[in-house]
């Protein structure tokens, strides 16, 4: 191996090339890895919409957890992320998550939200969501940022919680207490407020500037 690289180096020198990179694989840098995500999630992880989520400014552990969940495919279904996540080692996932969590969550996409629904949603969210998704969903400390996230993305995930495709029970990163709390909030949302209430909450979070 070492011999073949010396050879590659010598050949490179003969041909006047300056690239040293025919040598093999150290880990790619965090920015090199993360930049490949921007094609779908937007520059620096800030999505232009309409559906792919912004991943900038998210809690690092949440990003790691999400990638691991996609990779394992047990508690979080997806259209494409379960295929992509399998392409990265745990340390690469750490690097990518660290990179995007240090970026600023941008709210740049033009989202069509309904002001009336949003204000109705504000009251529901205050009652049911605020104790975890604090500061009207702007907080990123313990749970993912919801404020200004893409509405179709939020909707898809709410549907997945409802159907079990995004399983709360199988989430290894939640305590039993957290699971009970989250399930109760979702049940209350559906039972007390129905589809209109769900739409209102989605409008509320998506409309945050």
């Amino acid at each position: 191996m070492r011999k073949s690289m010396t050879y590659a180096l010598a050949a490179g020198a003969l041909m006047g090339f300056v690239s040293l990179s025919s040598a093999q694989a150290a880990d790619a840098s965090a920015s090199m890895l993360a930049d490949t995500c921007n094609g779908c999630h937007g520059p620096d992880g800030v999505s232009q919409g309409p559906a792919a989520p912004t991943i900038a400014g998210m809690n690092k552990f949440y990003l790691v957890e999400s990638m691991k969940a996609y990779k394992a495919g047990t508690n979080r279904k997806s259209s494409i992320m379960q295929r992509i996540a399998k392409g990265y080692t745990d340390s690469e996932v750490e690097a990518i998550a660290g990179y995007f969590s240090a970026k600023k969550f941008g709210r740049v996409a033009m989202q069509n939200t309904d002001a009336g629904a949003a204000s109705k949603g504000q009251a529901i969210a205050k009652d049911l969501c605020e104790s975890c998704h604090e500061k009207e969903g702007y907080a990123a400390e313990d749970y993912p940022v919801l404020a200004g996230q893409m509405m179709p993305y939020l909707k898809n995930n709410l549907m997945d919680f409802k159907s079990g495709d995004r399983s709360i029970d199988n989430n290894p990163n939640m305590s039993d207490k957290e699971k009970r709390k989250k399930k109760r909030a979702l049940e209350d949302l559906m039972a007390k407020h129905g589809d209109d209430g769900m739409a209102a909450v989605l409008n509320f979070y998506a409309s945050r500037k």
């Binding site: 006047g16 300056v18 040598a23 890895l33 094609g39 937007g42 494409i80 992509i84 392409g87």
Partner: protein, 433 residues
């Protein structure tokens, strides 16, 4: 190869490799600014991404991008323009974003490249010296002896988006209900392997809603194609494929025995099996090669594509010149927009390092390609890649990537369309700013 070995190697290399690093250091700044001058040929996906990421990597670099068009029309989503669900202006990208980052955008066409003298000459008569040149001209067409299509004004290719897309859309709109639209699909390798089949799908969707007696016939120059199972599955679900009512008919190369002539004069395609057939509209996508400037500059191999170091995209023909995007041989990445965008970042990072006299880092690449087959009906292929030095290929990470499952739920297919639109908005922002 462990990381340890790599480090030792680089340390050793740093001593003996002083000669190697020297040229780049000596050249840095010799053509512009103290950080070096980069000239980029072509403001498509690969060229524009490289320009943007060079500036992100080192804002002090002097970056010039030469592109003949005042604005760029993306090929991606151009099939929706043909379908009628998107306007041409909705696939137009301006160069203002690049300009605002300090990229010098020059509206001109490159005529020749002097790799020894490190300069680029344009049709407009200007000369640009460079420390590193990036060539990203996309594709041009091979002359298929059997085709008599003149300047593609009657029979379009619409494989570079813009006026050709507009012409083909007009022809489809003018076509009577009950007419037949023929797509001649190219041989491998070509830009966007699923593209012709997405086009067939979306035109079929337009016919179904607006001209239900019309048909799409694909005369292929291959016997199989990208995402074939997913496309034919979609055609069965949406367009009656496999029945005598099918809107889409696909003919393999084996079934036609090959094409003998294509004529714009009488709008015919002649194959061995079917003789001369008249169509109302013909879309002929020719065999392809790297954009012409690549051959002029001596960057191509015998097959007409540009061999490169796959970790830096530096040409294997000329030092100091990088080639990427559709024009390059980036096996096993497909010729796609996502691939061109991903390669632009790898190339930019390599150039930023080289210009600073630093070692080039390890590359990482991704491709994700969505196809829309009808209303709320999308699917995708994805791959995460690493460079494999032993085989000299950009190899997909095993166990990752792949296609949307054939039995994906209707909801998943709907979401893939949503994500395809998100991909479009995000990759355009990531490429042109």
């Amino acid at each position: 190869m462990s990381k340890m070995n790599r480090r030792n190697f680089l340390k050793a290399g740093a001593a003996t490799g002083a000669v190697l690093a020297a040229p780049s250091l000596a050249n840095a700044g010799s053509h512009g600014g103290k950080h070096g001058k980069i000239v980029i040929v072509g403001g498509g996906v690969a060229g524009a991404t490289t320009a943007r990421y060079l500036k992100i990597g080192n804002a002090e670099l002097d970056v010039t991008l030469i592109e003949p068009k005042a604005s760029y029309h993306t090929c991606f989503m151009s099939n929706e323009v043909l379908e009628g669900s998107r306007k041409l202006s909705q696939i137009e990208q301006s160069y203002d974003g690049l300009k605002s980052m300090g990229v010098k955008v020059v509206k001109d066409s490159v005529k020749s490249i002097d790799a020894k003298g490190k300069k680029v000459m344009t049709a407009g008569g200007s000369t640009f010296g460079y420390d590193r040149c990036v060539v990203a001209p996309g594709i041009d067409f091979k002359v298929d002896g059997f085709a008599d299509v003149g300047d593609f004004s009657m029979i379009t290719h619409a494989w570079k988006a813009g006026p050709q897309t507009a012409t083909l859309r007009k022809q489809l709109e003018a076509m009577p209900d009950g007419g037949t639209f023929c797509i001649v699909a190219p041989p491998n390798p070509f830009r966007c392997p699923p593209g012709p089949y997405e086009r067939a799908s979306l035109v079929a969707n337009y016919f179904m809603h607006h001209k239900p007696k019309s048909k799409v016939v694909i005369i292929d120059r291959k016997d199989k194609f990208s995402k074939m199972g997913l496309f034919t599955g979609a055609w069965k679900n949406l367009y009656g494929y496999g029945t005598d009512k099918s809107i889409i008919e696909w003919r393999s190369a084996a079934s036609t025995g090959g094409i003998d002539s294509i004529s714009a004069k009488d709008m015919t395609v002649e194959t061995l099996a079917n003789g001369k057939e008249k169509f109302d509209v013909i879309n002929y996508i020719p065999a392809q090669k790297a954009g012409n400037i690549a051959a002029t500059a001596g960057l191509t191999d015998a097959k007409g594509w540009c061999p490169v170091d796959k970790t830096t995209f530096e040409s294997k023909m000329h030092a100091g010149v990088h080639v990427l995007g559709d024009a390059s041989v980036a096996t096993k990445m497909p010729k796609s927009g996502y691939a061109a965008n991903s390669q632009g970042k790898v190339c930019a990072a390599a150039i930023v390092a080289l210009m600073a006299g630093k070692e080039v880092g390890t590359p990482s690449y991704v491709n994700t390609c969505y196809s829309i087959a009808g209303d709320d009906y999308g699917f995708s292929v994805a791959a995460v890649y690493k460079y494999n030095a032993e085989k000299d290929i950009i190899a997909g990470v095993k166990g990752a990537g792949g296609l949307t499952p054939g039995d994906a739920s209707a909801e998943m297919r709907r979401r893939e369309v949503e994500f395809a639109y998100s991909w479009y908005n995000n990759i355009c922002k990531d490429t042109w700013g």
